[in-house]
Amino acid sequence: MREIMYREAIQEALDEEMARDGTIFVIGEDVGVIGGNFKCTVGLLEKYGDLRCKDSPISEAGIVGLGVGAAIAGCRPVVELMFADFLTVAMDQICNQAAKISYMSGGQACVPLVVRMPLGGGRSSAAQHSQSPHAWMAHCPGLKVVLPATAGEAKGLLKTAIRDNNPVIFFEHKMLYTVKFNDVPDKDEGAPIPFGKARMVREGGDITVAALSMMVNKAEKAAASLEAEGISVELIDLRTIVPLDTNSIIHSVKKTGRLLIVDEGHTGFGISGEIALRIMPEVFYDLDAPIERLGTADVPMPFSPALEFPLIPDEKSIAAKIREMVRPGGTA
């Protein structure tokens, strides 16, 4: 395994896939000359040329639509949106077009399109550059929704996304781009990571924590700190929410009797409620405590760190919630 940054892993996945398949091209704002706003496409313009690494105008609906058309016509486009918040501008092309074409055509056409974008808060980017809108996408049948938590995960899952014959909405976490992870296989040797198969991050007996994206990393730290207190956490990285690996969660909860879902999306009407209700019939009689969740408070993301950070679950709030669930009443 190699230690590289999350953004480098994304670049490697794109590079390796583009080298393998000439129908793949990358398009987006600033993906070419400067190699992407978050540097995920560095070197691709020089290596593959302007047509396969295309600097686009600031036209989100236009470039996603271009991707849809090119996908139907035999390419595998990877469209980059600079921030997940901007998918609102391309919503028709994602939800009415990409998501529905296989269905509306009765299976005549497929749309092998990847739309990549960074989500999440933590950068003082305020309400229009900090959202985590993955639940919106998951609510629209016909889209696959992916949220990698580490560099190795990002690389393996992006490869799968590119090879999938369906539109895949690929959410990267903007606070992870420059974080190094020691989980990346050697170049050209990493296998694609299949969708719909959760990752067991650590095994434990007292409580199951199911998390996504950067919340996996935060929950991992919380779990490590709780070990000293004698609390054993089983942590599951869901990887994809469409498809969702409910079996892994159910299996774990049957063992631990407790489930905390941690997701950076807004708590209300988000995926935590969906997951809890989906698994409830299978785990109801195995539960020792109500299923709980942690998410971002249901307010727009504020600018100041003094206001922003308290809204997003972190290592401390996750640890506190786990303690509360495992030892109600606060006894040590």
């Binding site: 058309g69 016509a73 390419c75 077009q97």
Partner: protein, 318 residues
């Protein structure tokens, strides 16, 4: 063009236009008989645009269609039986009843899809053209849309990108003057929509969309230009829908005199009177098309609906 060539073309165009007209008349009949679920946006009156424009294409070319898209499919040679069955929601339809009138796709004929979202197909057309460039094939994409779609944001985004990159796509505006009930002149300062081409640095022209030869010639030039790698063009075809916005719209917002004036410029009548087709030729075409249409209607009506389980398939491709 030599006279005999013109006669051949006239026969071809008349066949397509009459086929479209008869198809749409039967769709309307099905609606009136309560056999068609939902609504349909009829192409009646605009037949020359599809016949002329699609007539300028090769089999390997693409078409992005619209909610008023039956004419584009008929003109591309789509299977009338599967089309009509789809419109009636039957399991034998192009999409097994999951698309309906507004979403018929015939990918085998290069139809990238009709589209229920006004303007939604324009960037998709640009994407197909981008694919042609990348995959180095010679396909050109025709992007059909109405006057109202020209006021959607993706119109601008799409024409801008296609022009910037000289993509092989031809934008065909079917300007029938109305977006449902709203007269384009009430919502747009400059109603000559082809003038917008100048802003993108591409050729723009406005032609008589009820003259099938004019459409064929102008779109043909634009297609040839696109195929040569010289980039997109914008062709505005002035036309008129004989019916309301859809089968349930009586179209009362349009002055009777205007409707009468445009019906007097009916594209089929004009071709019949152009002196290129004998009465016998016209009758032969009509008889043959009438048979095809009857067969399509009978097939669609007799076809079964798909099993309810069909609703759960094709959400994702394999």
């Amino acid at each position: 063009m030599r006279l005999d060539e013109n006669r051949d073309l006239a026969g071809k165009f008349y066949t397509v236009m009459y086929r479209t007209r008869r198809f749409e008349e039967e769709v309307f009949e099905f609606y009136k008989r309560g056999l068609m679920p939902g609504l349909a946006h009829l192409y009646l009156g605009q037949e020359a645009v599809a016949a002329g424009a699609c007539g300028a294409l090769k089999d390997s070319d693409y078409i992005a269609s619209t909610h008023r898209g039956h004419g584009h499919l008929v003109a591309s040679g789509a299977d009338l039986k599967r089309m009509m069955a789809e419109i009636l929601g039957k399991g034998t339809g192009y999409s097994k009843g999951k698309g309906g009138s507004m979403h018929i796709m015939a990918l085998d004929k290069g139809i990238l899809g009709a589209n229920g979202i006004v303007g939604g197909g324009i960037p998709i057309a640009v994407g197909a053209a981008y694919a042609s460039r990348l995959l180095q094939n010679e396909s050109v994409t025709l992007s059909f849309f109405g006057d109202s779609a020209a006021n959607e944001g993706v119109f601008h985004e799409s024409l801008n990108m296609a022009a910037a990159w000289d993509l092989p796509v031809v934008f065909v505006i079917e300007n029938n003057l109305y977006g449902i009930s709203v007269d384009i002149r009430k919502v747009t300062k400059e109603p000559r929509l082809s003038k917008r081409a100048e802003g993108y640095g591409i050729p723009g022209s406005t032609i008589d969309g009820n003259d099938v030869f004019a459409v064929y010639k102008e779109v043909g030039l634009a297609v040839a230009r696109a195929r040569e790698g010289k980039g997109p063009s914008l062709v505005e075809c002035l036309t008129y829908r004989h019916q309301g916005h859809h089968v349930g719209d009586p179209g009362v917002y349009r002055p009777e005199s205007e409707v009468a004036e445009w019906k007097a410029r009916d594209p089929l009548d004009r071709l019949e009177k152009a002196g290129l087709l004998t009465a016998l030729k016209i009758k032969t075409i009509r008889d043959s098309v009438d048979e095809e249409i009857a067969a399509a209607c009978s097939f669609a009506e007799k076809s079964a609906y798909a099993d309810a389980a069909e609703a759960y398939t094709d959400v994702f491709a394999d």
